[in-house]
């Protein structure tokens, strides 16, 4: 991973938007399944939903779009569907411009799970899957229904399905034609924990071997399903990086707890000129190389009369990384 300060440039940057860039080291190329170049999107108002966004998602990449509300995640998914037009810049999927003649052909290679869409009250699961199959020109309705546990509900109308089964149906419809790219727009939003876990299990199977761009608020979900992350804020790309590399780059924290309590522990750490933050049971100690530095820190704490009974190195979660990126950059 490389980190560029504002104003710096690199010919290997994959995400090129104003501001800081933590960018993947590989160059862009013809293997991009999803390609946005200098895309700006203004909504009436005008509201700047995207600001000169440039990003590429390579074939086979399982990429999640993260960002606070209004960051531009759904706008990117909708631009890729051809549902919106970019005010500026170009949007390509599988090499086809989303407003060019090749879009329909490209969309036959793309499965899309929209964000909590409405459900037809007058079409059955069988009719809807057949409709989708007919438009894609391939797929097996019965087999897909069985694979996604929908066979019992095949003659029920869409709007009578529970939230979890509606989401199953959307995933089933997205993969019925065996597409090579999946676009998932907050696929588990609004579901109860059990239904969300069930949907994640189905998605994990559906995503295997495909290029995926998934927008989500759920960082645990992103960590579980994806291997790269794009972090957006206010319509700009802050980071496009492998989650693993991002985690490696960020320093882990050390959890410390002492018999004398948080106050004494904190006072001594401050006296030692160490960076720490309080947590529920003690303190988080921020070190560059915890494994090398901790034995000495522990010796000094014990010598100062602080009875440390717990010391644990905690690797950063995606949530930590997300907060760090969004708040610091």
């Amino acid at each position: 991973m490389r980190c560029f300060a504002q104003g710096e440039h690199s010919d290997v940057t994959r995400s090129r938007t104003p501001g800081y860039h933590w960018a993947m080291s590989a160059p862009s190329g013809a293997d991009a399944a999803i390609d946005l170049q200098g895309v700006t999107k203004l909504y009436p108002g005008p509201v700047r939903a995207l600001d000169k966004v440039t990003l590429e998602v390579r074939k086979g990449e399982l990429c999640c779009l993260l960002g606070p509300n209004g960051a531009g995640k759904t706008t990117i998914i909708r631009l890729l569907q051809g549902a919106l037009s970019a005010t500026e810049g170009t949007v390509r999927v599988l090499g086809a411009d989303v407003h060019g003649k090749g879009l329909i052909e490209a969309k036959r290679q793309i499965g899309i799970v929209p964000q909590s869409p409405g459900m037809y009250p007058d079409l059955s699961v069988r009719e809807y899957l057949s409709f989708v199959r007919d438009l894609y020109g391939k797929g097996d309705v019965e087999r897909t229904a069985v694979s996604y546990g929908l066979e019992e509900y095949i003659d029920r109308t869409l709007s009578t399905l529970s939230g979890g089964f509606q989401r199953r149906l959307l995933v089933a419809a997205a993969v019925i034609s065996e597409p090579s790219v999946l676009l998932l727009d907050e696929p588990t939003v609004g579901l109860d924990p059990l239904a969300a876990a069930d949907t994640r299990r189905l998605l994990q199977a559906a995503m295997a071997g495909r290029t995926v761009l998934m927008s989500t608020h759920n960082l645990a979900e992103a960590e579980e399903l994806c291997n790269t992350v794009i972090i957006l804020r206010r319509g700009t790309v802050l980071v496009h990086e492998r989650i693993e590399d991002l985690r490696r780059q960020a320093a882990p924290r050390v959890h410390l707890a002492a018999r004398q309590g948080q106050e004494v522990l904190g006072r001594v750490l401050t006296e030692f000129n160490m960076r720490w933050t309080p947590n529920e049971a003690g303190a988080w100690l921020h070190l560059l190389e915890p494994e090398g530095e901790m034995p000495d820190v522990l010796r000094r704490l014990l010598a100062a009369g602080v009875d440390v009974y717990e010391c644990r190195i905690v690797p950063p979660t995606l949530e930590d990384l997300f907060v760090e990126v969004v708040t610091r950059i």
Partner: protein
């Protein structure tokens, strides 16, 4: 018909016929106009009312109740019937899809906005024709039984009916593209459809011969072409979503 268009058309036609409320609402006005109001007018004439001459649009020539029925009432009734049906159904298939958020399902599939809109337009036209043509046939039967219409007039009325159906559907497209929400849609709908009947009334009242019917049909055809051209210029998923 191309493959996606055929698939979309089948879905739209199936959904329209399954929507009982829409079918009932769309068939009610034509049934009232073409059967009950027409029969009521004829019965009134047969009972001897309407014998007193009437002066139309300050004209110095008085017209009889029979002339009024043939030349004025029937074309207006046929026009209203044909304007109402596609407008109601198109409103349901376009705005209903947006309001129920099922448009999100459609846009996720390998279809273009052109295919989606054309499939809806064709399904609505087919439905409107299949509702109004049988009712018009019944109307013709009633009118001919009592000897109030000629063959040429019937053909002219049929032309007006078809042109009004086309205009109503085409104007509904414009409404769907320019109106972001239902209130705006009602206003635009009123602006596009409202003036048609008074305009026809002026033409029929001003030109008291059968050529007036052809002029009305031609006017509707021109307005249809205008609305279609306008729609094609606006055509996009963004417009359909109401986010443009």
């Amino acid at each position: 018909m191309s493959h996606p268009l055929r698939t979309l058309f089948r879905k739209e036609a199936r959904q329209i016929t399954r929507s009982r409320k829409t079918v009932a609402a769309a068939a009610l006005v034509p049934a009232l106009m073409l059967i009950f109001v027409t029969t009521g007018d004829i019965v009134t004439l047969k009972l001897g009312f309407g014998k007193k001459p009437i002066y139309l649009l300050s004209s110095s020539h008085a017209v009889s109740g029979t002339f009024l029925l043939r030349h004025y009432t029937l074309p207006i009734l046929v026009s209203i019937s044909a304007l109402v049906t596609p407008s109601i159904v198109m409103g349901d298939v376009l705005f209903g899809e947006r309001e129920r958020r099922t448009l999100d399902l459609l846009v996720a599939l390998p279809v273009s906005a052109f295919h989606v809109v054309l499939a809806k337009l064709l399904a609505v036209l087919l439905f409107a024709v299949s509702v109004t043509v049988p009712l018009f046939a019944l109307n013709v039967l009633i009118v001919h039984l009592f000897g109030y219409a000629s063959f040429t007039q019937t053909v002219s009325l049929f032309e007006i009916m078809l042109c009004a159906i086309c205009y109503s559907a085409a104007s509904a497209l414009v409404i769907a593209f320019v109106a972001g929400e239902a209130r705006a849609a009602n206003i635009v709908s009123g602006l596009l459809l409202g003036p048609i009947v008074p305009l026809e009334g002026l033409i029929l009242g001003g030109i008291k011969s059968e050529i007036a019917l052809s002029i009305c049909a031609l006017l509707l055809l021109c307005l249809t072409a205008f609305c279609l051209t306008w729609s094609i210029r606006l055509l996009s998923f963004e417009r359909l979503f109401g986010t443009a």
